[in-house]
């Protein structure tokens, strides 16, 4: 049976949420990870979204962070302002999990623009922007990033969200609590050195080599062994976990782009004439 790196990424991300923790989940992989954590090893976790749905228990993946229909009721309904002040700024959010596109070696994140801010070149891409990322990663007690398609860079094209800033104690000097704890990618999990706050490879996905990861990272990447730690090997998921994820959210198993193409072709299937009638 084959499975995708994206699926392993979701299942690995779910494990970052410990039972009893309060976790803010962002768009994409984190929404599925948060819901799966709650369904599996962390039934007492409190999962919330930026849109103010607090203590959700999704029966399938949320379409976005304002999708109450993916759960049957929830405990506490507030607005975005309450989420950022009474919950996040007051330190009640143990962690936030956010999907990102570009990250530097100190865990600072760009989710605004790839390339030039003025979009001079054809290759420049305008991304969605901060959304909730800046303050979530800026103020939650811990941050876990998931990076499905993006990549680490030497220098960010735009600093959307502060990580460990320039490393060392620079984040604390700026008066910010928390900080990035892990970056989950298609190759494995990166963590941050306690002293320098530099991102290093902490665990490796199956069928993946350190060389592949080095090729993915533009700077001279340190790995767990450089800090006297063991480079963990992530074990493949079991069949039940993958099957559960595919019922919960079928898209990760076939990639979002292919899923969206299928969606775009779906209406004629329900309509007389079937798919062949679709122009």
């Amino acid at each position: 049976m084959k499975y995708r790196r994206a699926e392993l990424l979701v299942l690995t991300a779910a494990k970052e949420i410990k039972d009893g923790e309060m976790c803010v989940i962002g768009q994409g992989v984190p929404m599925a990870a948060g819901a799966i954590a709650k369904k599996t090893h962390a039934p007492n976790a409190t999962i919330l979204t930026e849109a103010g749905m607090v203590d959700i228990e999704a029966f399938q993946n949320l379409e976005d962070v304002a999708d109450p229909g993916a759960c049957i009721g929830f405990s506490y309904s507030v607005d975005l302002f309450d989420v950022f002040t009474t919950i996040v700024n007051k330190g009640y959010a143990d962690l936030c999990m956010l999907g990102i596109a570009q990250i530097d070696k100190y865990g600072n994140v760009n989710s605004t623009v790839i390339g030039n801010y003025n979009l001079d070149k054809r290759s420049d891409i305008r991304l969605p922007g901060s959304g909730g990322a800046n303050e979530f990663a800026g103020h939650c007690n811990r941050t876990v990033f998931t990076m499905m398609g993006g990549k680490p860079v030497e220098k960010l094209d735009y600093m959307t969200t502060p990580g460990w800033l320039i490393g060392g104690d620079s984040r604390r000097k700026a008066g910010l609590p928390g900080g990035p704890d892990a970056v989950l990618t298609r190759y494995g999990v990166f963590r941050f050195d306690e002293a320098t706050k530099e991102m290093y490879l902490a665990s490796l996905f199956p069928e993946t080599t350190v060389e592949e990861v080095r090729a993915y990272v533009p700077w001279d990447l340190k790995i767990a062994e450089d800090f006297g730690k063991e480079l963990e090997k992530i074990t493949p998921p079991n069949k039940e976990e993958v099957e559960y994820l595919r019922i919960f959210e079928p898209m990760f198993g076939i990639s979002g782009n292919i899923g969206r193409r299928l969606q775009s072709q779906a209406l004629p299937v329900y309509w007389e004439g079937g798919r062949s009638n679709y122009k």
Partner: protein
């Protein structure tokens, strides 16, 4: 956070464990649904040197003062009725210098609590307060009572108040689940910001309900379970103040209390009879019935005016049997795709 743990405990235990001598205690309710059951337990346990905070206080602070619990008060309104000769415990306590009171306005007390609840160190308030003695006269809060700053955008002089984070909030609500998700409706007053400003929260409720009931109306939850430290089930816990949907003001009882409170002796008699000599709220209600009968309680009954329920809704699942509606593929077609697109081997 604490979701999943059962927070129900007897009120005696909650007050003993959570409220310490010297604490700042905020009454989160505003005129309505006053947490009298909790306040009476605080008095019975003889808590000392508390700072009492209440945006607008009816008799709750006066009772705590009579019980010797308060050394400081932060409020903006301290109810009095009974003509020129009427003296509350507050009048005697201020004269004897047994208590220090810092005068604010409702809005400034509320603003301080809101700043505390949001995790800000201060917030702007409205300008009018600066033109009053509320701004000019200060007791124990001193310089830190209210200040002005220049708005960094317009340069305009702006009144600001500091965050207030009481040690404990006490609050009475209609219903709550075992996890502490507290639902309150009616006049919202100061409940949300006062409760959320506090470091610990004791909730008393008219009714304990199943979590399922909470989930059906999450917009009625004013205090989320993860913030609550104790849930105490106290029917009639706000008497003689009203609780929307449960009971009305007991004006006859309050009028009796005022007449008792004309003098210190009468006040002390009330405090012993209705607070110190009562074991708990149930005993208080039983005592009420034994003194006045059932009839006065029947007068308090509310008429029914049910809220219209709304459809919270939820979706169909992606998969209907072996067919995925979302991408219009059969299970077999989907599995063929996952085999084709899979990158790793299981």
């Amino acid at each position: 956070m604490n979701q999943g743990s059962n927070k129900i405990m007897p009120l005696t235990e909650a007050v003993a464990e959570i409220i310490k001598d010297g604490d700042m205690v905020v009454n989160a309710n505003f005129l309505s649904s006053i947490p009298y059951a909790i306040i009476h337990e605080i008095i019975r346990q003889g808590k000392k040197n508390l700072t009492g905070v209440s945006c607008s206080s009816i008799e709750e602070l006066d009772q705590m003062l009579s019980g010797g619990c308060l050394s400081k008060i932060i409020t903006s309104y301290y109810h009095r009725a009974g003509g020129k000769t009427y003296k509350r415990e507050l009048d005697r306590a201020l004269k004897d210098k047994r208590v220090q009171l810092e005068d604010y306005s409702n809005f400034t007390v509320m603003s301080m609590l809101m700043a505390g609840a949001m995790g800000y160190s201060f917030v702007p308030a409205l300008k009018s307060v600066k033109e009053s003695d509320i701004f000019r006269l200060r007791t124990f809060k001193g310089d830190d009572k209210i200040k002005t700053i220049a708005c960094p955008f317009t340069g305009e002089e702006t009144v600001v108040v500091p965050a207030l984070n009481p040690d404990v909030a006490i609050v009475h609500v209609q219903r709550c689940d075992e996890f502490g998700n507290a639902q309150y409706w009616g006049s919202e007053g100061t409940v949300k910001w006062s409760a959320l400003a506090a470091k610990k929260i004791i909730v008393s409720c008219e009714e304990l309900v199943e979590h399922e009931k909470i989930k059906r109306s999450p917009f009625l939850t004013v205090i989320p379970g993860f913030r609550v430290n104790a849930v105490c089930v106290e029917p009639m816990g706000a008497h003689p103040s009203p609780v929307a949907g449960y009971y009305n003001h007991d004006n006859l009882f309050r009028a009796s209390f005022f007449s008792f409170a004309f003098g210190q002796a009468a006040n002390e008699k009330f405090i012993s009879e209705w607070i110190l000599d009562r074991k708990d709220r149930k005993d208080y209600i039983d005592h009420y019935i034994s003194r006045f009968g059932q009839k006065p309680l029947e007068i308090l009954k509310v008429n029914e005016y049910m809220s219209d329920s709304v459809n919270m809704g939820y979706k169909n699942t992606y998969w209907r049997g072996d067919f995925c509606d979302e991408i219009a593929l059969t299970r077999e077609e989907y599995e063929r795709k996952t085999e084709e697109l899979g990158e790793l081997e299981l």
